[in-house]
């Protein structure tokens, strides 16, 4: 039966196809799991905007939240863009 292997060796074994498919599926399932505990991000963003507006007049897109993952570590990056000084001065007057 050895000669049959000549044909077989051209195509991947079905087990390695299964492994590749599963790796994609599992990575996807785990990706959405990791996101599941961060469902609060949009409402956190809204609340922060509200608090900041008590003190400064800022645009709707002034608060930016980003989550970066590096292995087990998660970093929540918060960016607030204040209006430039001239427009603040106008606002104050």
């Amino acid at each position: 039966m050895g000669w049959l292997n000549i044909f077989r060796s051209n195509s991947k074994s079905s087990a390695s196809v299964a492994k590749e498919r599963l790796q994609v599926i599992v990575a996807h399932q785990r990706g959405s799991r990791a996101g599941a505990d961060l469902e609060y991000l949009p409402s956190l963003q809204r609340d922060l905007l509200e608090v900041i507006r008590r003190y400064v007049k800022v645009n709707d897109d002034a608060v930016k939240l980003e989550v970066e993952r590096d292995g087990d570590m998660e970093v929540l990056e918060l960016n607030i863009t204040l209006p430039d000084r001239s427009s603040r001065a106008q606002h104050a007057s």
Binding site: A15, K19, Q23, V26, Q29, D37
Partner: protein, 269 residues
């Protein structure tokens, strides 16, 4: 304080009940007081696999509802000392498993037993969630096959988020991979995922592999946990698994392809 072990998989038919019966029997054989509980309310089967179906009078749901006490519902195994079985109800539905009720029964058992093995039903509905809820350890029973592996990963997600340990922020549930129906010859042919593949995809440590074996069906026919069939490969694999769980260092057996020689093929060796 008892350690609670859930035997789970997501997918049905992969060997949860076979594993629960053998793992619990194996722990009891090692001298640990063990109770095994069937959480598959409405579709009970553990009693059949353990060979005590004719001795079920009261069940888990009766105890939860206060219609019987634990002493009345627990069935003492006739073959193995230190082993008791709590059967599932055949007539109720899974809604009967309330979280408070399950917790109360587990707390009461924990006072008397070293290990509580929870045989989960298939799926991720109430019965399965309740079986996982209070677990300290989880045996993830997986066949080396795509749908089983995917379902096992879903179950890992639930263990990491919806168990008591996950919610209280304690040390997470300890996960152990149990691969069943393993066929080293087919792995050798490239037709089946290898143990290494499954462990790598799920990223949990392998506790043991049970080879595909005729003995598993034969022992379920007879109502004898396969771990009691010491001469069979499957029985020995389960015994090894229990030993490893208890901290013994045992090499994995029956996982390598034994190429049959010309003579053994000729004479059916």
């Amino acid at each position: 304080m008892a350690r609670i072990i859930v035997v789970t998989s997501g997918k049905g038919g992969v060997g949860k009940t076979t594993t629960s019966a053998s793992f619990a029997s194996g722990l009891a054989l090692k001298g640990h007081k063990t109770v095994v509980i069937d959480f598959d309310v409405g579709l009970r089967n553990l009693d059949l696999i353990m060979g005590c179906e004719r001795r079920v009078v009261f069940d888990f749901v009766n105890v939860i509802n206060g219609e019987a006490n634990l002493r009345q519902a627990l069935i003492k195994d006739k073959r193995v000392e230190n082993l008791s079985i709590l059967a599932a109800s055949q007539t109720r539905d899974k809604e009967a498993l309330t979280e408070e009720g399950v917790k109360r029964v587990l707390d009461e058992l924990a006072a008397d037993y070293d290990y509580i093995v929870c045989d989960s039903p298939a799926g991720i509905e109430r019965g399965a969630l309740m079986a996982m809820r209070f677990a300290d350890d989880a045996l993830i029973v997986t066949n080396p096959e795509v749908s089983s592996v995917r379902d096992s990963d879903r179950v890992l997600g639930i263990l990491a988020s919806r168990t008591r340990r996950a919610e209280s922020g304690e040390e997470p549930v300890r996960e152990h991979l149990v691969v069943t129906r393993y066929a080293p010859g087919r792995v050798h042919q490239g037709e089946m995922l290898s143990l290494e593949d499954v462990a790598e995809i799920l990223a949990i440590p392998l506790l043991g592999a049970v080879p595909e074996s005729e003995t598993v069906l034969q022992s379920s026919n007879a109502g004898v946990p396969v771990v009691l069939e010491r001469d069979s490969e499957a029985g020995a694999a389960y015994a090894d698994m229990v030993g490893r769980y208890l901290g013994e260092e045992l090499p994995h057996r029956f996982i390598d392809y034994q190429k049959k020689g010309f003579f053994s093929r000729l004479f059916g060796g």
